[in-house]
Symmetry: C2
């Protein structure tokens, strides 16, 4: 017992706080709460509108209490992490009852830090630049953690936590974070959608995306290694109008895809004409 107490005391001295509460029990909360416990913090509560969700996550944590009330006035937590969909953050934050002297952060890539001004004196953004899903082991070591804080002391606290999780911690302003998020939408959400379209084109014709996996993997490896601008291949950059026309003929009964094909082809041509 004495050793356990000493370890806890020592951890607290190192990080500066001991207990953290998660507002939200979705994918980000799921992975981040367990990661914070792995570096020695204790999750005090997990809030979800749906108590069942909070309970499910609490089973993965040492001693967290599932709650569906936003009244934390008697909570022992020193840090509150809002990890819920962007458009719900303002509303939930406005309903929070926090104990005095706590720090409030959100984990959103798109939302400004200013959103939290009315609700806490010490606040920040703790944005893990990664996509999270339920059935996936996450290693935070290489995940970029983008931090922003209301003041130097809060930033220092967030850095002590972040650097224990990841080798890739950066101070990123709200304006920069928005640009990064926009770039991530192009690089991840949109590329994933093109893969979905590709799969659909193949399926309709009795083929499987499996066939393209080696090609896609090689493309990505090359793009990330040598830079995508120098790795562009295909009919658009070759100016191969014959192939482009054949592809548009194949898409002639699918107006949305042929429109997309034409616009991206035009974008590729324009991109390299500027050189």
């Amino acid at each position: 017992m004495a050793i356990k107490w000493f370890k806890k005391f020592f951890k607290k001295q190192e990080i500066g706080i001991e207990k953290v509460t998660f507002i939200g029990a979705g994918n980000v909360a799921w992975h981040l709460s367990q990661a914070l416990e792995s570096i020695g913090l204790i999750v005090a509560e997990v809030y979800s509108r749906d108590l069942g969700h909070a309970q499910k996550l609490c089973k993965k944590l040492y001693d967290a209490a599932p709650v569906n009330s936003l009244d934390f006035s008697s909570s022992e937590a020193e840090l509150f992490v809002i990890a819920i969909p962007d458009d719900a953050i303002a509303e939930v934050a406005s309903s929070l009852l926090l104990p005095p002297n706590t720090t409030l952060v959100h984990t959103s890539g798109a939302m400004a830090i200013d959103l939290l001004v009315p609700y806490a004196t010490k606040f920040g953004v703790f944005y893990p630049l990664q996509t999270f899903s339920a059935n996936q082991k996450i290693n935070f070591k290489h995940i970029p953690l983008c931090l922003e804080a209301s003041d130097a002391e809060t930033l220092a606290l967030m850095e002590r936590i972040a650097k224990r999780l990841s080798e890739n911690v950066a101070k990123v302003s709200s304006a920069q974070r928005k640009v990064i998020h926009l770039a991530a939408v192009f690089a991840c959400n949109f590329t994933n959608h093109l893969l979905a379209i590709s799969e659909q084109i193949l399926k309709v014709n009795g083929q499987d995306l499996e066939l393209l996996k080696p090609l896609v993997a090689a493309m990505l490896e090359k793009a990330l290694k040598n830079g995508p601008a120098g790795s562009q291949t295909g009919p658009a950059i070759r100016g191969d109008q014959e192939t482009i026309n054949e592809h548009l003929t194949l898409l002639k009964n699918n107006a949305p895809y042929s429109k997309l094909y034409m616009l991206i082809t035009r974008s590729i041509i324009d991109f390299y004409e500027d050189d």
Copy 2:
């Protein structure tokens, strides 16, 4: 000497031919010619309009002669592989002088097999579904090889060769091949371009694509493992109009990118509305 002769004889018996000539010295010819030598075939000649290109590739081969004439009437090759840009295949094929009873194949994903009808009696398509670049080691083992042939005997020859190179050999008709090629344009060329746009957005704002690498790698891993349609994330599928509007505001001085953003966002919304 006797052993070498025996080995050669044995190889020929196994594959059915001994010598192959490459028309073209670009990336596909570069990798495929060396791969064919690795399974025991001998490259007799490498043709390029630019003799220097042919010479450069021949240095990588055992005993190939670099040529810049299309008169192969006295060549010992039994198989001719056309590996040049799509729009040059018909013209080059029409200028070929081949020895009798040889097999002529092209390696294009987009061009039909019929293209070769006027120029040979035994012909086919040997399409490696991979992107090739000069400074890259290629292992053919997992590269899908899509085969099509004028007749069963030619197909059997091509299969004997292909199966020695790859575990992933499929008979694919010209019509199917075109669809696969179109799907590959979406999955590779277009996704690469979106990464290039992402990089440009970051660069303009003093950030680096490096930051997004873990995110992009995770997205791709998830898309290829669980299927892209089930892996879609981001503001479009969440119906997060606020974030979409903020992104469009960031792109307000870049009409082509904002047009692309809107069209792909619309495409994602439509894709999942159909469910």
